[in-house]
Symmetry: D2
Subunit: 345 residues, 4 copies
């Protein structure tokens, strides 16, 4: 059985494990107050082109989201996200548990739009009987593998600034987004267009870890407290420094993300040619073919993957995810198996 | 200008003010630990036919909702309500501020159904990545003035028990619901079918106040703590005792609610005859005629009311609310004015 | 049995009930958006000498405290108060329920001092492993009836500004404090020395109600949301307008507070002369004589009062509270009874 | 410079890194739903002698504490701990951020006692104006390195059961406690005497990770939701399985903990003989000698350690911590240096 379930089935990129091994018995100050961490922060600052950014490592995406959102919102304020956004759909109410409503609006291909945000503002007009929308949350890549084009993110950014909404970008799959063939955004753009974003390590080569970037350190200088308060401060913080240090050395982070995209594209192109339709047109490392129940059952004998969404009585969209660790041979085999299924019908 | 905006424009029923005046300079123990309060609780217990019920007075509906819901839910649990339900639409995220998600589902005529609740359970299937639905919240009358028939509430109650969901009924307008011509529910039914409900005073003759009824005192014996924790314990608690004591003496609560319904029915019947259509078919004290923008403007010169919902470019549903204090002469005049408008078109 | 238990045993000053009666059947816009409320706000602004102050009425002290504190603190921030402060000792963790720690430090005669606040800052030095002290909470009068002299409050205010701590004053018994013989503070001083304070109505002539004053409206312009979110927005908000309107007409608020102080002083002077000692030297409407167990038992046959604090095996401090409604004849009788008890020993 | 600052300066025990390396490129189901994790859970169940225990891995101690405590307490409930307890002193209000008060009471040698817990219950008598104590939190070893003897923990356990208080034991340094020369407690005892406890990995050989043990799975069957809600569910959960699997193979966890204790004892015995006094008589891996300012300055040139607590103008208690990774040669050198300092005086 080979798994295309997600991009976090394997451990870390070998460079990371090697470095970890090297430093394992060295002594480090606790809580990320060490040189390895500082160097990793410096590398990221350089790479995003913002030497003054405040950067904080945390362990996972839910932590990043709940720490950032609870830090920046005041008690009656809410965050807007797209239908199916991660903070709404897959984080067990972590945001509400910090006291804030998540407002969802419809998107276009999984992406939020200024019109969608405006809809939320319109719906929440009835001051003071409704929460106050104060932040916009977007993911890039989105939950369905689509990406924000520069013009789209600019439009959202301008809208947010005009309406005094903070803009926060969840980059759990940022590597995949920024190395997509269709991408025209840079890290530099992100640091200019958003208030806060995070660079996801868990789904792109790290054992775990996300790098939260406050583009303007004055936005919330007390975030170190919040990271600890929310249980997101790692005692052996240097482990995060090691990982991001390796990922941002020689652009490894982007090289391996691109590799995952290439395999995903190989897969989706072959499936398209074989006649499969898709739930969404994803240019990143997630592929959502629509298959019949019989095809799904047949594939499930050799592969692990998620049934993503029922389409009709006889069909479902399924999800194949590639990662930096995906073996091309298995992709090739999956392609062959899919083509065979199609031809047998 | 006469206001049909809401059922809380005036103060209290004269009986209440009279009693308040009588007791004003007497001394009472604080925090509702007084005889007046005990007597009011006893009256309610008798009237609902549940001598063992635990009854707690609080000042308003948002307090009631946030205290009950935060008391009964554990941290990852959520409450299900209908689209437009009060806890979702008009309480500034008070439930989320206590750490819990509100899940909304579509209703039928403003009412929740077992199918709707099942939809919520289906949507939230992905344990542990989603919150756990643990309570169902309904309002009777609903936000659009409709009421639950006995069979409907029974079906919901059975569904909840079968699925281990608590059932909580918001009775901000319970008087109006139970005295509607179409009603077939009794207070006794409520105490049997729900886990907790509240009897609304603010919108039916009291200066303020809601009576929360825990049908089984063993459900949550520590609610007194929560009432205080949430700022809902009145220092001069006897004021609530006085008010509910008067409302539940000689069935005043229901007599005055019925009076509001009678006037609302007079109004809606006349409007229907005059050719107006309605947003919802409300058998209680709220009437939602659909009017043209011109009609709305004309009416707004003499009456205060809410524009409830735009219908199309030229029409809106507006809301007229009657109460125990509504002057029939003004209802008659409003009817005349509406007919005149219709005839002028 | 006559009660000296507290200053909220009776209802409202007769002027208030009269006005309430007059307006009872008039129609008012909901939620305090009415003229009566606006006028009351204007009266308070004039009386405190701060025409730009933002003023919000809420129903009770716990509501005021939890709404103000949760509005002004961000997630990892804490509020400092004196040992025995109301938010620590008698509000069922309402502040913690909004996510914030209450830090207590020793006081002097129930009063916080700059040294005490500095102690809290010293204790909480270990960033980011400890919460961030961000607000100071004081009560005037204090829980033991003492009051802040102008120089004391100035010192605290200066300390707070120097250390970027917000200063919030709980005025549940502000009338009693400001009309004490020993007082040298004015409302104008409060508006200059604090960031936020509240003027307590519940314990000085109102049925219920506290007026929260934001001295600088820019400090937190969204407080209206928080008031609703915390269940502290009264539907018939004009009831609060009526009460504060009467209390601030012709200085009624201070006249009746002074009357309570006069009776308390009469009582304490007589008890002192009779040889009783006191727990604290309170110049306000609370008197804390130390009595033997036998004296306590004898008094409990005719009077209701609180045993405040055990002193030794044979003695306790008890508390007598006077109010605007206290009957002087009963004070005289209490004095006689106390003297008799002393003489019998 | 050699560091005796803490027991989490280095990475993981080599066995763990080896295993991690072996499995690094294998595919694992996400979120701890993998065989490695199941096996580790089974090993722990066997070792503690409770085959039905529910065991959940989380990343760190603050996560463990906030998830367990917020899962088990209802909204107005509080947790009792000793002065200086970790949840009070070093977790940035993480417990309060979930809505609950932490109540502190004095201990004996850093340990909670039934008398201390009784004191908390006495202090919080004034229902419903005070929070409801509902849980007791102890750490073993304590913050000052002392340990609970079996009779002490039994007494606390009996007290808790008699007073319906849950008992939760923080085992961040449980390995050190259970392998202390003075220890007479077993894991089996813990599973019988407490309701929940956790076995700390971070401070004893793991890169990170704590194993939360619910002794009775019926106590709170929904903890999986809370772990996710609080950001404590690791995507690559098998990393925790690998670590605890190694630690509980051939009793490695206890072997390395004992080794740390042996070095600590060597150090403390030598310092005692050299004439140093101690803040606390710790039989575990923390040593708290009292040194003069000059001695502290001299040591700080070669060693990293914490100044723990000022004793008087001229002396402080400092803390040396040993771990599974401490190099005995450095301990010997530290001993020599300390003796030299003492002799020079």
């Amino acid at each position: 059985m080979y798994s295309f379930t997600c991009d976090y089935s394997e451990g870390a990129h070998p460079n990371i494990l090697k470095k970890l091994q090297e430093r394992n018995l060295m002594q480090h100050p606790g809580y990320g107050e060490d040189e390895v961490t500082n160097e990793a922060i410096e590398l990221i600052r350089q790479r995003i082109g913002n030497p003054k950014a405040s950067i904080f490592f945390v362990i996972g995406g839910t932590q990043a989201n709940m720490a950032v959102i609870s830090a920046l919102l005041r008690t009656p304020e809410a965050v807007i996200c797209v239908d199916g956004g991660h903070i709404w759909a897959h984080e067990t109410g972590a945001i509400e548990a910090t006291g804030h409503r998540v407002i969802t609006v419809s998107g276009v291909q999984g992406k939020l739009t200024p019109a969608g945000i405006q809809k939320a503002l319109d719906d929440y007009f009835m001051r003071p009987h409704m929460v106050k929308p104060a932040m916009v949350y977007v993911s890039n890549a989105t939950e369905v593998g689509t990406i924000y084009k520069k013009a789209e993110l600019q439009a959202i950014s301008e809208f947010c600034r005009a309406h005094k909404l903070l803009l926060y970008l969840d980059g759990a799959r940022l590597g995949s987004a920024l190395t997509s063939d269709e991408n025209d955004l840079t890290l530099k753009d992100l640091t200019e267009l958003t208030d806060v974003f995070y660079i996801g390590g868990t789904k792109n080569g790290a054992l775990f870890g996300e790098a939260i970037v406050f583009n303007d350190p004055a936005l919330y200088p007390d975030f170190d407290y919040v990271r600890k308060e929310r249980g997101a401060l790692l005692a052996k913080g240097w482990l995060l420094g090691v990982q991001f240090g390796e990922l941002f050395k020689d652009d490894l982070y982007f090289k391996i993300a691109r590799q995952a995209n290439i395999l995903a594209k190989k897969l989706s192109a072959a499936l398209k040619e074989a006649g499969f339709e898709f739930l969404a047109d994803s240019p990143t490392n997630q592929v959502f073919p629509i298959v019949s129940k019989e095809e799904m059952a047949a594939l499930a004998k050799k592969y692990v993957f998620e049934e993503w969404q029922p389409i009709d009585e006889h069909h479902s969209a399924i999800r194949f995810v590639t990662s930096w660790a995906t073996d091309e041979a298995h992709v090739d085999e999956l392609i062959k198996d899919c083509i065979k299924l199609k031809n047998n019908n």
